[in-house]
């Protein structure tokens, strides 16, 4: 049985790792392209959120290449993600595709159900083996995010532009042909090595930009038009508040074990957003504050058009930005996001915070605080 799953940035690395360690044949869907989006847009409800549409595109392109089983994560609200799989299954069935969909949800008291679902994919491996593979894949996800973080640091400082991005393209094409956690971890290690040896302009001053928002738009370069790369090329070191390993550790593992510690989030988002609103809405507000505390120069807030939790975040962010004196730019992404207009906005934002930083250098902090 050929198993596939939807794309979300580098998440495919962790998925490959866990499934291949369990001896499953994996088909990674082709990377998101215009065609993926077109397929998704054509067959999904018009006002569904963008990730749902791209998932549909991924599934179709994977089924075309022979995938038989789709693995998808589930949820229990309040945002739409929890009902994605239901809608997606109906769409694909009505299109006449034959496939099996396995929805992995945080076991709500019913662990046996969860194990049964895993057994559909793996053909009955022991629970112990499944858990061990999940553990190794989590490790791979952490390593992968470290590699990305390294890229964000080196890119604005590299001597000859484009080196890091070229190496990363090379990495991804090799990752597709590398099997299992051991191979993937080694490959990541190798590229970490190579990228850390990329020549940099020693002590070049760079801007710091934090990226917050809805997880898919933050992580998937196709929808955010490679924002990390673009900002890096514009001389800014980015940091993303949400990454694949963060998601795996906080949502899958800690919540299943009831360990999730939300105190820091609540403290930082208070009093602007005082409640959990689903998705990562509260994180977006909290992380904007935390980026300011950590000395970043600006924050970019990404969300797909009509995203429910992030609209709540968006409505309080102007106040947060004002009170904390940190520039925040919101980018709403949809099918129409054109690269040209998008680039102009990024450049304008980088210019703005660069000028702001220079002024700060000249006149000290007070003049900017606006009080």
């Amino acid at each position: 049985m050929l198993v596939t799953f939807p794309h979300m940035g580098n998440a495919y690395i962790a998925m490959k790792s866990v499934l291949e360690d369990l001896g499953v044949e994996v088909l990674v869907p082709p990377p998101c392209t215009k065609r993926t989006l077109e397929l998704g847009t054509k067959y999904s409800p018009e006002l569904a959120c963008l990730p749902l549409k791209l998932n549909i595109g991924n599934y179709i392109e994977a089924i075309e290449r022979g995938a038989e089983v789709i693995v998808m994560a589930g949820g229990c609200g309040p945002c739409r993600f929890g009902y994605y799989a239901e809608v997606q299954r109906e769409i694909l069935q009505d299109l006449g595709y034959s496939f099996k969909m396995v929805v992995l949800e945080r076991p709500q008291g019913n662990v046996r159900d969860f194990v049964k679902k895993i057994a559909i994919i793996t053909g009955g491996k022991t629970v112990f083996r499944v858990l061990a593979s999940i553990k190794r894949a989590t490790r791979v996800a952490v390593l992968m995010d470290e590699l990305e973080r390294l890229c964000w640091q080196i890119r604005p400082r590299e001597k000859s532009g484009g080196t890091v991005s070229r190496l990363m393209r090379e990495f991804h094409s090799q990752a597709l042909n590398t099997r299992g956690s051991v191979g993937l971890a080694a490959l990541i290690g190798e590229y970490k090595d190579r990228i850390s040896r990329v020549e940099t302009k020693g002590n070049k001053e760079v801007l710091g930009i934090g990226i917050v928002g809805e997880i898919y738009t933050v992580i998937e370069p196709f929808v955010n038009v490679s924002i990390a790369e673009k900002l890096g090329d514009l001389g800014a070191e980015v940091d993303k508040s949400i990454t694949v390993s963060y998601w795996v550790i906080n949502h899958l593992i800690k919540e299943a074990l009831h360990l999730h510690n939300k105190n820091e989030l609540q403290e930082a988002s208070y009093p602007y957003l005082r409640s959990f609103v689903g998705g990562h809405g509260q994180e977006s507000v909290a992380n904007t504050v935390l980026y300011k505390r950590r000395g970043y120069d600006g924050v970019i807030h990404l969300l797909p058009f009509t995203c429910m939790p992030e609209i709540v975040a968006r409505s309080v962010l102007p106040e947060v930005s004002h009170r904390y004196g940190i520039p925040v730019m919101t980018l709403v992404l949809d099918e129409m996001t054109g690269e040209a207009g998008y680039m102009t906005r990024l450049e304008a934002f980088v210019d703005l915070i660069r000028r702001k930083k220079e002024m700060k250098g000249l006149y000290g902090e007070r003049i900017l605080s606006g009080d």
């Binding site: 006002l47 739409r80 602007y272 409640s275 609209i311 709540v312 968006r314």
Partner: protein
């Protein structure tokens, strides 16, 4: 002077107003409602609410603006969950925060949190917290609350007899009478019962001799029973009743057609609407999805309604898109 508590005539007003009204009145407050939704309220809401919010949220903000200078308190509860394992919508979880950060110069906002998702204890706390603003007498608070709940129950009873919320608030269900045939009208209560937003859709259908059945006119136990058969539990309370109602209307009431009124920008309607539509179409029942946004003209809606009704009555193939 009695303290004045302002309640916006929007969002859950259509579900809970009788409860809120009695509760505050019993505590000795004066209840002040915002006016009926109109162009000014809509425009004010559109201007102050965040850009891509759904239409009902914008309307709610408009009502807040209309009301805020006439009252001592504004009642904007944070309704995270009103039923076990369910939510209303992410935007309801953050409603008071959205209002506080978008509208300037507000009076005291009563933003108690109701979250019955895991336990019912938050309700008790909310009732007490709100009550304490008006009296130190706990017995009085409880009595007020009990009276309010009774009122809500009789209100819901009238709706199950076929009254709209506005009729039920007046104790009148006379319009739920004799009609030629029935059609189902589903959607969020704050869309279908707000006459400005829905362009009086219920009256228009009734004027054509059509009996209108909304999800609120169906016994809620019946809906819960149907919802237990969903392939995955529906975690949005309104989504659940909308989906269950569409099944009930087809299987039990044999309606001639179903209209789903959707607000532009509603994340929930986008998915629930798709699931409902697929199922209804497979059953061969005529279906009409009407989307309302801030620019919807009444004429456009009327034309589509007419076309839909003509199709139902003449069995034609007129397309309602």
């Amino acid at each position: 002077m009695k303290p004045r508590v302002g309640i916006p005539r929007a969002l859950l007003y259509y579900n809970y107003f009788p409860l809120w009204e009695v509760f505050f009145k019993e505590l000795g407050a004066e209840v002040v409602l915002s006016g009926l939704t109109n162009k000014k309220i809509l425009d004010d809401g559109v201007n102050c609410c965040v850009d891509d919010a759904c239409l009902p949220m914008k309307v709610f903000h408009g009502h807040i603006i209309e009301l805020k200078d006439r009252v001592d308190y504004l009642f904007v509860p944070r309704l995270i969950s009103v039923e076990r394992n369910e939510y209303i919508c992410p935007k309801f979880c953050g409603l008071p925060d959205m209002v506080l950060n978008s509208v300037k110069d507000l009076p005291t906002v009563i933003d108690c949190t109701i979250n019955l998702r895991n336990s019912s204890s938050s309700l008790r706390r909310a009732v007490l917290d709100v009550g304490r603003l008006f009296t130190g007498d706990y017995r009085r608070i409880y009595t007020a609350y009990r009276k309010a709940v009774l009122c809500l129950e009789s209100f819901e009873g009238l709706m199950e007899k076929g009254a709209t919320p506005l009729e039920a608030m007046k104790g009148d269900y006379s319009k739920a009478g004799e009609y030629h045939y029935s059609i189902g009208l589903i959607g969020h209560p704050y869309n279908i019962y707000d006459n400005y937003m829905s362009m009086r859709i219920i009256d228009k259908l009734r004027d054509r001799g059509v009996n209108v059945i909304t999800q609120d006119m169906i016994c809620s136990n019946e809906l819960d029973r149907i919802a237990r058969d969903f392939s995955k539990p529906m975690f949005w309370s309104f989504g659940k009743s909308i989906m269950a109602a569409s099944r009930y209307l087809i299987d039990k009431r044999h309606v001639k057609g179903i209209i789903y009124l959707v607000a532009f920008g509603c994340g929930l309607d986008a998915l629930v609407g798709d699931l409902v539509e697929r199922r209804i179409r497979k059953k061969g029942i005529p279906f009409c999805l009407l989307t309302i946004d801030e620019h919807t003209g009444e004429a456009g809606i009327d034309t589509r309604l007419e076309a839909f009704i003509d199709m139902l009555e003449w069995g034609g193939t007129a397309k309602c898109w």
